[in-house]
């Protein structure tokens, strides 16, 4: 009975007793959720347009952040470093399209998935070789990002918001809005959606797949850079991010592989869910459950709704 009480009732009692802590936890979850969502977003972009399950999105985040910081360390002023990093991301997009996607067109999905493992290892290797394997501090001030915290007195206590987190949320929202506009209203956006629906049909109306792929991978690269900056500002830029980036996978499962709103909502659910789980239930089993809770949330969800939050019901045909 005692154990049942501890699992089923006590955490909620704690939540009620200290609402400021609850709000703080939710906020923390929200912020990491935004970052998961951003990774998932880069992923969804690529999956939609090229059908590639891009395992390398996580390492692209690390690589973008690392390049930015590394270039700054080499003496480039921050804005120039940012531009050069964008150039590097564009170069990666072109290289991926030329070297990987083009020769592998029409191969089964799993082959392309495996190829992105290759990209991952290449980026890890080059990142380490050029910039070294040690964690680096993000150049927050140089990029005019705010630091410090705001305290909000409420619920008989106070809730602390890091300014950088608020900035991250705002920038993420802005970026998503821009992307949505880009997809819905522009010619390239329309071509992109056409490609997402059917490669062959898109080709037949004169859309260049190669061009679209470069654009999409570059867009994903930009998203990766923004994610890298935000994430780096919260902790450090290091290759450890890569393992955390795997949490974008449960996010995708919740949201569906092709849905941008799904990626965002899924990211927030996973972020908040794992922070609350860790804070209120984690101590019961010695803590650290954050490392796997996200996967179990996704897994449990998947068993009941295999198509994800926003996916359509799958009807199998033969």
């Amino acid at each position: 009975m005692d154990i049942l009480y501890k699992i089923l009732i006590d955490p909620f009692v704690q939540m009620g007793a200290a609402p400021d802590l609850l709000v703080q936890t939710v906020w923390e979850g929200l912020v990491s959720g935004v970052l998961y969502a951003l990774i998932a977003l880069g992923f969804v972009l690529i999956f939609k347009a090229s059908g590639v399950f891009n395992f390398a999105q996580g390492i692209m985040v690390v690589f973008a952040g690392l390049t930015l910081v590394g270039l700054h360390e080499m003496g480039l002023p921050a804005p120039i470093a940012l531009l050069v990093t964008l150039g590097v991301m564009f170069f990666i997009a072109v290289a991926v399209e030329r070297v990987v996607l083009r020769p592998l067109v029409n191969q089964p999905d799993i082959i392309l998935f495996m190829a992105t493992f290759g990209i991952t290892y290449l980026l890890i290797g080059f990142g380490e070789l050029i910039f070294g394997g040690n964690p680096k501090r993000m150049i927050t001030e140089e990029l005019y990002l705010p630091s410090g915290a705001i305290e909000w007195k409420a619920f008989g206590g106070f809730v602390q918001f890091q300014k950088i987190d608020v900035a991250a949320a705002v920038i993420a929202a802005l970026m998503i809005a821009v992307l949505a506009f880009f997809f819905q209203k522009t010619r390239i956006g329309r071509a992109l959606r056409a490609v997402a629906d059917s490669h062959k049909a898109a080709l037949s109306v004169g859309i260049s797949l190669n061009q679209i792929w470069v654009i999409v991978w570059f867009t994903a690269g930009i998203v990766a850079l923004v994610t890298g900056i935000m994430w780096g500002a919260r902790s450090d830029v290091s290759f450890a991010l890569q393992v955390i980036a795997l949490k974008a996978l449960p996010v995708l499962i919740l949201g569906g592989f092709t849905s941008v709103p799904g990626a965002i909502v899924g990211g927030l659910i996973i972020g908040i869910g794992e922070k609350i789980g860790e804070f209120y239930w984690g101590p019961l089993v010695g803590g650290g459950i954050e490392s796997w809770l996200a996967y179990f949330i996704a897994l449990g969800f998947l068993l009941f709704r295999p198509q994800g939050l926003f996916g359509e019901k799958i009807i199998e045909r033969i």
Binding site: K313, I315, E316, I318
Partner: protein
């Protein structure tokens, strides 16, 4: 080819092997099949025809348990079920081929047909690990059976070729072989001749007739080529928009006004 109905009057009045009663199937709001009833008698060749989207393939999917109808029931070998389960359907002797060839592409012709024998093989995991003694004897015994099918379908030369590399016509033939390996009582053929040239059609028709004559297998067949349907089948059921509009011998059906309307359209 034989003229319809010759010497097969017995079948016309024979035992019912499978009866479909009042089956309705819907996906969300889309009705694929609405209140369809018909039966298949032992030993006959039963054709299911109808325009595209009439619900023919869905009907086969219902019969072998891949789709579960919301209403109606299916009686197979005297046993009534609200819904079939694929495993049960297969183990009771319903085999099938598919509209878009559904072979195991990475496996050889031989392995594909051998896979059709899975249900008949039962030597356990231990012997399988050793591949010796009972497991090997079982393997050889079934290999003999499979070789008979290979001879029957005249595909000896492609025995060890991965089926992914075979031309379409041969793939269809291998698929028939795989279904035959299950020694089915009821064989469901979903457009066995789609996309074939005249010669391949003739071969396939010959195989179907021989299967029916040699093994006494009951066959339900979806086909768009009316010539083939008229020549092969004993009875025909016609679907349109998920409803049954006619049922009878090829001659009866081809004279039916609603069938003519369905195929040629009604003048406005």
């Amino acid at each position: 080819m034989r003229a319809p109905g010759d010497g097969r009057q017995g079948i016309m009045a024979g035992d019912v092997l499978l009866a479909v009663e009042g089956v309705s199937l819907a996906f969300g709001g889309v009705k694929a099949i609405t209140d369809v009833s018909f039966d298949i008698r032992k030993g006959e060749i039963r054709a299911i025809i109808g325009p595209n989207g009439a619900g023919k393939t869905s009907m086969l999917n219902v019969i072998n348990g891949f789709y579960h109808p919301q209403q109606g029931r299916i009686t197979f070998k005297g046993e009534a079920r609200k819904r079939m389960r694929p495993y049960v359907a297969a183990s009771q002797g319903i085999a099938r081929t598919f509209q878009n060839v559904a072979l195991f592409k990475g496996m050889s012709t031989l392995d594909n047909i051998m896979a059709g024998r899975t249900l008949k093989m039962n030597k356990g995991f231990f012997w399988q690990c050793l591949r010796y003694g009972p497991a090997m004897r079982e393997e050889i015994e079934h290999r003999k059976f499979v070789e008979e099918i290979i001879d029957f379908l005249e595909i000896q030369a492609i025995r060890k070729t991965p089926v992914g590399k075979l031309p379409y016509g041969l793939q269809k033939r291998v698929e028939l072989g795989r279904a035959l390996a299950m020694e089915p009582e009821l064989l469901l053929l979903d457009e066995p001749m789609a996309g074939m040239n005249l010669e391949e059609k003739a071969d396939m028709s010959r195989f179907i007739l021989e299967v029916s004559a040699q093994y006494g297998t009951t066959i339900a067949l979806i086909e768009h080529d009316m010539g083939v349907v008229m020549d092969l089948s004993d009875r025909v059921v016609v679907l349109e928009y998920g409803r049954k509009i006619a049922d009878g011998t090829p001659a009866e059906v081809s004279a039916d006004q609603s069938v003519i309307d369905a195929y040629l359209g009604v003048p406005h």
